[in-house]
């Protein structure tokens, strides 16, 4: 455990190499990154630059080949799969480009899922699911299945699912990628509201318009951080 001083995420010298058929692909090289609590950070860059890989490692969906990673002061680079799973469930909320709602579950059941895996009581689950759906304006569609919703509505449900467990950080991977501009804007507004209410958000996007919603943007190229801009600079 290290002193956090408001730091939620800290990465030092993180590398990710993929090995396939004797070919080494260096997806990430020497990533040094720090994210404070309450920050809204976006990761931008061209296709194939390593954005999603970085987000996967940040979200504990994958582990780095080398380097150190602390989440909330706890080293998480070398955790076992089950330890990573537990932390993902309790401390990270995911929003995916393709929404990734489970088609055979209702809106309510989709949002309830992280709490179910956590072992939360049914009464508490009900209360939290209701609250999360109200926050995204989808409480009136509890019994609907994903296929009965529009893309924008599905992504709102996905945001509710990410929020329901009160995670330390929301990880959003191209959250507007599958939406039209109107719905994309709406989702981005929703994320901004959440951030204003104190949520820490880390978003991957290749769309500069949406990157500008964040107060800080990291630019990746060929697996390296090549530039970092902050809200003031963006506004300037």
């Amino acid at each position: 455990m290290v002193e956090t001083n408001g730091t939620l995420i800290k990465m030092e010298g993180v590398k990710k190499v993929f090995y396939t058929d004797e070919v080494e692909t260096h997806a990430l090289e020497e990533i040094h990154l720090e994210i404070k609590r309450g920050q809204y950070i976006s990761i931008a860059g061209p296709s194939g630059c390593g954005k999603s890989t970085l987000l996967s490692i940040l979200g504990l969906l994958d582990s780095p080949t080398d380097g150190n990673y602390w989440l909330n002061g706890q080293p998480v680079a070398k955790l076992t799969i089950s330890e990573r799973t537990r932390i993902r469930n309790r401390e990270i909320g995911f929003i995916f480009q393709a929404f990734n709602l489970i088609g055979d579950l209702t809106v309510y059941e989709n949002v309830e899922l992280p709490l179910t895996y956590r072992g939360t009581s049914a009464a508490e689950r009900k209360q939290k699911v209701q609250q999360a759906l109200e926050r995204v304006g989808m409480a009136h569609r509890l019994r609907h299945y994903p296929s009965q919703l529009s893309g924008g509505q599905q992504q709102r449900v996905a945001v509710a699912r990410a929020l329901v467990g009160d995670p330390l950080i929301l990880m959003a991977d191209e959250p507007t990628g599958n939406l039209d501009s109107k719905n994309g804007e709406a989702v981005m507004e929703l994320l901004r509201d959440l951030h204003r209410n104190g949520a820490t958000i880390c978003m991957v996007t290749h769309d500069q318009r949406y990157a500008n919603f964040a107060e800080r943007t990291i630019h990746l190229f060929d697996g390296r951080i090549v530039e970092e801009t902050r809200e003031a600079e963006v506004g300037a």
Binding site: S52, T53, S56, G59, L61, D62, I81, S82, T85, R86, R88, N89, R90, F94, F96, Q97, A98, N100, L101, I102, G103, D104, L105, E109, L113, P114, T116, Y117, R118, G119, A122, R161, G165, D173, E174, G177, N178
Partner: protein, 838 residues
Amino acid sequence: MRTLWQDVKYGLRILAKNPGFTAIAVTTLALGIGANTAIFSVLNQVLLRRLPVLNPERLVILKSPGPKRGHVWSDGDDSEIFSYPLYKGLAKNTAVFDGVIARYEFSASIASNGQTERGSGELVSGNYFETLGVRPALGRLLMPADDDVQGAHPVLVLSHGYWTQHFGGDSGVLNHTILVNNTVMTIVGVAQAGFTGIQVGQTPDIFVPITMKGQMTPIRNGLDDWNDSFLAVLARLKSGVSREQAQAAINVDYHPLLEQQMEHLGGSGDRVHGKDREEFLNKKVVLYPGAQGRTTVQRDSGPALKALFAMVGLVLLIACTNVANLLLAKGAARQREFAVRSALGATKGRMIRQLMVESFLCAVAGGGLGILLGAWLMNILTQAVVSEGGVQGITSQVDATVLGFAAAATAASAFVFGWIPAWRVARGGVSQILKDQGSTGSAGPGHVRFRKVLVAGQVAFTVLLLAGATLFAQTLWNLRKQNLGLSTENLITFSISPQLSGYDGLKTIALVDQLRQRLAGLPGVLGVGSSQIPVLTGTDMGSNITVEGRPNTDNDERHVNYDAVSPNYFSTMKIPLLSGREFNDADMATSPKVAVINEAMVKAFFPNRNPIGVHFAMGSGDVKPDIEIVGVVKDAKESHVRDNARPYFYRPYAQFGKLFGMTFYVRTNQDPLLIANDLRQIVRQQDANLPLYELKTMRRVVDEDLFAERVIAGLSSSFGALAAVLAALGIYGVLAYLVVQRTREIGIRLALGAPSAHVRALVFKEVGWMVLAGAAVGLPSAYGLARVSESLFFGVYAGDIAVYLVSFGVIVMIATIACYVPSRRATRIDPIVALRYE
């Protein structure tokens, strides 16, 4: 628990939303579980079930392997049969046994309620029920006091089944009298429900004290004869006494009893000297576990039942493999769902649990349907086993054991088909799948490889079953082709047992003479014959013989089976006469004794001389050969279709003092069943109290003799066919998936100008490897299993290469058919669409 319920609800929803998958999986499992349940039900009743008596594990069967002397009335294993004096001597041992019991099954002619029927009776020792711990359902059971004096206690106990079927469960039957084998007997009680004696396959209607044997089997009593062995003997071990201790103790008593038996051999012409005597006196009693009662049926049908159970087990395994393959395909389509679940914090165990719940729900549906299907199959199977196989008491009842088996098969199936797909889905790489935002998720090459391995496994099991089915079908075919030595065409048969209705020897002969004449007078009848031993029913009768001019050597070489037959028997049966003459009405009791022998007997006893005119005698020792051979006939099957030709002789029934029954054969010029009622009427007119039984065509007799072979061939062929269909489905499923997965590649090939044949070859190559790999495992395994089952075959052997070629040919054909649609689909891929395909 609540989350488990959530999994159940979700699983039900998944199954309901995929009706095609659910229907195929449930039906496949139902077929496998149903077939297994049906076969297990019979296997359980025949091989596994213990007697419904008190502490059956303390029962032991007494056997005495080694040479036998005198007459042995055995139903298969001579070592299990003891004389009444020997039994009485053994029963005196109360140090290690709580009781020693004896029983003998007899045919009963039972007259009650104005009707005479043929039934089955059991002569039992007085302590039979007490030792077994069987209770009365009504009245009392037989007691030791009921067998103290021979012929003094004409009482009987009804079996519960007979009481309910024939007396409607009327409690007023107590102290009523019925006529059994012409003896008035008083009903003193009814045995407890469910108790059907101590031998699987036999369900006695009545239990009679053993000391009434003289009345129940009028042509022979045998109770005082040390050398008339007919009793099966069981004992109950005292508490705390082991089988080994009891065996040691009983053998102390046994030796002096054997010496006594030896003393009684004196005048029988069967004296024993020297080494033979020593060997006889050194015999021991060996105790075998008796919890299942006598194991005659188990011994006869055990190997076939076990082979069938193994085959049907393979069918279930193939069914499970098929469902596993379906689940793997479904799992590939659900990879994203489980990646999301994992991202949201579901542990691997939690995801496996959910998938296993789905598998169990599927299996439970399959198991439930399987039990219904099994009950239906059991009904068909048990009806056949009872009516054609002659094994009584086998029921189609779905009891707790059968349900337990079905439940276990269901759970095991769910585990077998569900575990690996669940494990493979749950272990999927989360990050990579989620990164693949646009696609629905496709499985990697490892996934496809594993599915191919499963199909190869299915092919291996199917080849195994097909080889087994081919061997058994070939066996039946060979038996059907057997030259019986007689013609079954338009031949009908029935039996009577006059001695059980009070006829003595002379009256029986007169009765048979009259019946033959009357039957011959029926319109359309071409010939009438009769024999004491019913042909092809597994019954036989034998004796040592002494042939004039031929020295007596080994006992075995002199033992010949024989029958007592009527005039015109051979012409009626169409058994060709090779030389001499057949019997005629002049061969009377007072005429010179004559015999007709078969070819095998000529080869064995008269290799270099004409047997006509030669005399022989039945028995050995100081006997005078006084039976003249007057004819030679071709070999005909007597006991079983399976039997090889062996020496056999026939004598006129008129020259037999004691006939214990007579079977008639009537040949007609049309369908013989058309005269069945006329046959009944003639017998009834002759004697209304004489039951006629086993009225059937000779074709049916042959079918019944081949019952076991027919069942095995029929079931194994059905299992083979089912396995082939399941394998075809498995092959089709994998190929269809492969074609979809390789659509882009095939599109590129087609765009580059690949001909259709090339594309088709790509698909066939895939299936070729699976079939070859399966056959490489399946064929040697089939050979290995065939080697250990060779005793079940006839005219075909484990190393018969044609059997394996046929099996391989069938699986190749099945694979080709299964391959047709996917390969056709592959050749019709539009390159433009395919290149856009992702």
